[in-house]
């Protein structure tokens, strides 16, 4: 026997008995976003049944009576096949009373909805929606628009964060209040059922189930992250903290509106510039509804902020978040120095599950890459420090310019991931320094220009220490670059750290091997490691200039 449920109030009892239905009383619902209607449907109509009767005249508000049916139809992922049961909408009024109710009255125009007079109820012939015809018989008759009080920007934020949240949480919304509330809205439910195939979902086909798409979080303990988003509280802070797992206190947020970089407070600028962030997530629209009618990429607040941060610190890794999927906006972001972007999915566009997955995977790869390349921020900082210190010295201006130029060129190559060429370019700074401080006399002996003292010969002992060699002790025209630098370090500047000379020899040997095609694939010259080691030595050397 078919199980029939009737929704009404205590006045519906007699009718329930008459049609052999189980009565579920509907509480008085006033809220306009109808989150309560959703909760009621999901909670009370979860168990299997065959027919739903809505006793509209005994539900306090006509729009609630209609909304109950509409929410049920849109709750496929919550109540399964119950969402397809025939709905019998009964009233003593004519349908006209209900047709003027915006949005919710669309239920009455869909198939497998039966409008009947309460004194003449016929349940024998009512049939459920066919899952295969969910779209043709139901969804195609319905059009739900977002409420006027929620701007497009906020909508995309709530929706986009919700998508990412589900991907990280086995396909269901997690316990975050903001995301949960947004997911209950009629517009989001309407948008959600368009992202998968209802028939496949009800058949349990894995490819239709958002639930199988669980994506792992990114472990980033010891890394520092900054989120700059005026709507961080719309769920982004919550979901990004779940996406990128940092230590407590290593994920900071700047979450208010600004029109450009200058609009940040002094403390916030300091945070951005000196907070040692390995990665910054930056929203393209940081100024709310003010930017809804902006079309040129360069006019967006986030773009202005991106450019300023990159101007201050090109090595800072920034992933832009944007609800725009326009190619020219995305290209402009990359041209301005962004290290990646994530398209915040908007309910206005129907992104497939496949897109969501690819979008997530791209974000994950981007985040990992940025975290790996966050050394660039430090490299840039070190080069800038050398430049700053150089400017305080009285050494030859051309020499200073040449060294800086060499360091900056090497940075560009490093950023472009040309590790070997970046290394060689950096090494040339060593040659420039040697040339500035050392010269060879007529006899082919190298000497230190400042003191006129002969440069010594150096060797590395079995303890990996750099010591003065006893053999001859004379330099020749084939005096290696690492020994020249050692002479400056130990003789001219009077330093005693014996490992510096060893490092110099090792690093310069790597360069020589590469130049002579003898470099093996594990050599640090083929990754950023070699560059960073060489830079450390150069920073040390430069501190004495």
């Amino acid at each position: 026997m078919a199980r029939t449920i009737i929704l009404g109030n205590r006045n519906s009892k007699e009718l329930a008995t008459k049609i052999a239905a189980e009565l579920i009383e509907v509480p008085d619902i006033y809220e306009n976003d109808f989150g309560e209607v959703n909760d009621f449907v999901v909670e009370k109509l979860e168990e299997s049944f065959d027919i739903l009767v809505i006793d509209a005249d005994n539900i306090r508000r006509a729009d609630v009576a209609l909304a109950l049916g509409l929410f049920l139809r849109l709750s496929v992922t919550d109540v399964g096949a119950n969402a397809l049961v025939p709905i019998v909408f009964i009233s003593d009024f004519t349908m006209k009373k209900y047709l003027h109710i915006k949005t919710y009255s669309q239920l009455l125009l869909t198939r497998n909805l039966f409008f009947q007079s309460r004194s003449n109820i016929i349940l024998d012939a009512v049939l459920p929606l066919e899952a295969e015809r969910y779209y043709e018989d139901f969804l195609d008759f319905v059009c739900v628009q977002p409420g006027p009080e929620v701007g497009r920007h906020s909508l995309a934020n709530q929706w986009g964060a919700g998508v990412l949240d589900r991907l990280l949480n086995n396909g269901v919304s997690s316990d975050n209040e903001v995301l949960k509330t947004a997911a209950k809205s009629l517009f989001f439910k309407y948008s959600f059922v368009q992202t998968f195939n209802v028939a496949d979902f009800l058949k349990g086909k894995p490819e239709a189930r958002f639930a199988i798409t669980n994506r792992p979080a990114i472990q980033a303990k010891g890394r520092r992250i900054l989120l700059i988003d005026d709507e961080a509280d719309k769920g982004w802070e919550y979901v990004l903290k779940r996406l990128v797992i940092t230590n407590e206190g290593d994920f900071d947020v700047i979450g208010h509106r600004v029109k450009n970089y200058e609009a940040f407070t002094k403390e916030e600028k300091e945070k951005i510039e000196k907070g040692n962030y390995d990665l910054i997530f930056l929203d393209l629209r940081m100024n709310g509804v003010e930017e809804e009618n902006i079309y040129k990429p360069e006019d967006f607040s986030g773009m202005k902020i991106l450019k300023q941060i990159k101007k201050n610190s090109p090595g800072t890794q920034i992933i832009m978040f944007t609800a725009s999927n326009k190619a020219w906006n995305l290209k402009a972001l990359l041209d301005a120095g962004a290290n990646g972007y994530y398209i915040k999915e908007s309910p206005e566009y129907k992104f497939s599950l496949g897109f969501s997955l690819a979008n997530y995977d791209a974000l994950r790869d981007n985040v990992k890459d940025c975290l790996r390349r966050s050394y660039l921020r430090n490299v840039d900082f070190r080069i800038k420090s050398i430049k700053k210190d150089f400017n305080k010295t009285f050494v030859n201006r051309n020499f200073k310019a040449s060294v800086i130029n060499q360091l900056e060129s090497s940075y560009v190559l490093l950023e472009a991931r040309h590790f070997e060429f970046a290394y060689i370019s950096l090494y040339q700074a060593v040659e420039l320094i040697n040339d500035e401080y050392l010269d060879m006399d007529e006899n082919g002996t190298w000497f230190i220009k400042d003191s006129g003292e002969d440069a010594k010969s150096w060797t590395i002992n079995i303890h990996k220490e750099c010591i003065e060699t006893k053999v001859n002790g004379e330099t020749s025209s084939k005096y290696p670059e690492w020994q020249k630098m050692a002479s400056l370090y130990y003789q001219l500047w009077g330093q005693t750290n014996k490992t510096v000379g060893y490092q110099l020899q090792m690093l310069i040997n790597e360069r020589n091997k590469f130049m002579h095609n003898e470099s093996n694939r594990n050599s640090p010259i083929h990754s950023e490691t070699g560059y960073l080691d060489l830079l450390e030595v150069i920073v040390t050397i430069c501190s004495f200039i």
């Binding site: 007699e14 006033y30 005994n58 003593d92 009024f93 004519t94 006209k96 009373k97 003449n120 006027p148």
Partner: protein
């Protein structure tokens, strides 16, 4: 022309949120005064000469340069002023009130006891326009919306139908069971085209009974007329 007084701290920006930016822009400054800050020591004399008072139910007192969300003395003083809520119409709205249909009591037509802020601000412009063009304070616009007559007649019809629920459509109308006050409201709102008074119709039903189905049909025609034309064109036969 007396002036409408709107008193709301608007701390949460609900005016803008619900489409009433015109308040702060002063669009209706010719008929309405907007007050966003009041303290219990301010001169509240304006109340006595107001066309009506529209007030945030839990208006925060403003003193020492800040709003105090634990102090609502001024709202209490205004409510207790002579004639307010009686000869001087009073509307109380609040974010805490979730009902979009104002609590509007027949016995006190000059007061709305509670109304959601959302509903209030979304209906405010129609209310002001009505006052500007017709010179009448019509609280029902705030309570039920611009189409308040449709809402009222539907509410009455719902009550009348409820009194006949669970009786088959083929049975004759049991006149004694009809909810009289609501039936009277329907008939009065259906004038003049309906052509008969409430008493005439009730007497007629007693003398020449009709089925419940037919009775509901007739009421529905009146309701549908209101939906289509904003008034009744049906004549009771």
């Amino acid at each position: 022309m007396k002036r409408i007084y709107l008193i709301d701290d608007n701390i949460d920006g609900n005016q803008q949120k619900y489409g009433s930016s015109f308040v702060e822009e002063g669009k209706y400054a010719d008929v309405m005064n907007y007050i966003s800050r009041l303290s219990a020591t301010d001169d509240l004399g304006f109340v006595n000469d107001a066309a009506c008072i529209l007030m945030h139910k839990t208006l925060d007192d403003f003193y020492d340069g800040v709003f105090h969300d634990d102090s609502h003395k001024v709202a209490g003083l205004i409510r207790q002023s002579d004639g307010v809520g009686d000869t001087i119409p009073l509307v109380l709205f609040s974010d805490g009130d979730t009902a979009d249909m104002g609590e509007y009591r027949q016995e006190n037509p000059n007061m709305i006891y509670s109304l959601s802020k959302r509903a209030f601000y979304s209906r405010l412009e129609n209310f002001i326009m009505h006052y500007k063009t017709k010179g009448q304070i019509e609280l029902k616009i705030l309570a039920y919306g611009r189409d308040y007559e449709k809402v009222i007649i539907e509410k009455a019809a719902t009550a009348v139908f409820a009194s006949l629920q669970n009786i088959g459509n083929d049975e004759l109308v049991p006149v004694a069971k009809i909810h009289g006050q609501d039936m009277r409201q329907i008939i009065e709102m259906a004038q003049p085209k309906i052509g008969k008074s409430y008493e005439d119709i009730i007497n007629g039903l007693q003398l020449s009974p009709i089925t419940i189905g037919e009775f509901k049909n007739r009421i529905n025609i009146i309701i549908d007329n209101y939906q289509d034309y904003g008034k009744n064109y049906y004549t009771w036969k």
